[in-house]
């Protein structure tokens, strides 16, 4: 659908442009604290995030936003000198966008985590990997979240 592709492109553009964001006034900054942009800026300290090496798998259509299967894997040798330090997940429209952070290391063997997340409606999900060399890599996935057909007052 053209609309969703546009929103995805806009989201990707925002992620890529994080380095270029101007400094915000204190009150506005507090209001922005809860946004993905602010959280990611805090994580990377302004460093560049490169799309790639990370693969974020979510179903294109989630049957229920209460529980959506998510798999994130990073192309990394996970050796003593070249490994993924941490993986950070964000859902742009969730009331608390930072879903979870996973901390790995050279003893992990494989940079892959599978879990189940809550998604408050159709939105983009962002995964950022912080590598041992200080670089940041990312992937995004768009998930359409449908509501139950019938009201459940059980």
């Amino acid at each position: 659908m053209a609309g969703t592709t546009r929103s995805r492109r806009k989201f990707l553009a925002r992620v890529a442009a994080l380095l270029a964001l101007p400094a915000a006034a204190p009150r506005a900054a507090r209001a922005q604290e809860n946004t993905v942009d602010a959280m990611v800026r805090k994580l990377t300290a302004g460093a560049q995030i490169t799309p790639g090496r990370v693969k974020l798998d979510l179903p294109a259509l989630a049957e229920n936003g209460n529980s959506v299967g998510l798999k994130v894997s990073i192309d990394s040798p996970m050796s003593a000198t070249d490994f993924v330090r941490s993986i950070h997940l964000y859902a742009e429209k969730n009331p608390r966008p930072n879903i979870a952070n996973f901390f790995l290391g050279p003893r992990s063997g494989r940079a892959q985590v599978v879990t189940r997340v809550r998604l408050a409606g159709t939105q983009n999900v962002l995964a950022i990997a912080a590598l041992s060399d200080g670089s940041f890599w990312s992937d995004t996935a768009e998930v359409t979240v449908t509501n139950s057909a019938c009201y459940d007052g059980s």
Partner: protein
């Protein structure tokens, strides 16, 4: 807290080992209200740690964006025969723990 863990009984040294765990917990978001309209306070498992032979090999810091009855599937490199110990704590301070032996050959 009831939890179910799956770890291969044995592994070869240097091989990545898949660990899967499901923990029974409502992961209460704090946004729900009860039938009387009162807010149900937030209570999620906020920290989960896996230690292998005493060393932390995986940690998850989680929020209300993780689904109820959290499920985690991650890896660790088979090194020495030892114990995998899983510990977690929720916002109320309640803790849970599981331990599973891992036999490593080679």
């Amino acid at each position: 807290m009831t939890a179910r863990v799956q770890v291969p009984r044995a592994a070869r040294r240097g091989q990545p080992v898949e660990i899967r765990i499901a923990i029974q917990h409502p992961m209460e978001t704090g946004f729900r209200r009860d039938d009387a309209g009162r807010e149900i306070p937030k209570n999620v498992i906020n920290r989960f740690v896996c230690r292998y032979d005493g060393v932390e090999v995986f940690r998850a810091e989680m929020g209300s964006g993780v689904a109820a009855n959290p499920y985690l599937d991650f890896y660790t490199l088979a090194d020495v025969s030892g114990e995998l110990v899983f510990d977690w704590v929720d916002d109320e301070g309640k803790t849970g723990s599981e331990r599973v032996p891992l036999v490593v050959s080679g």
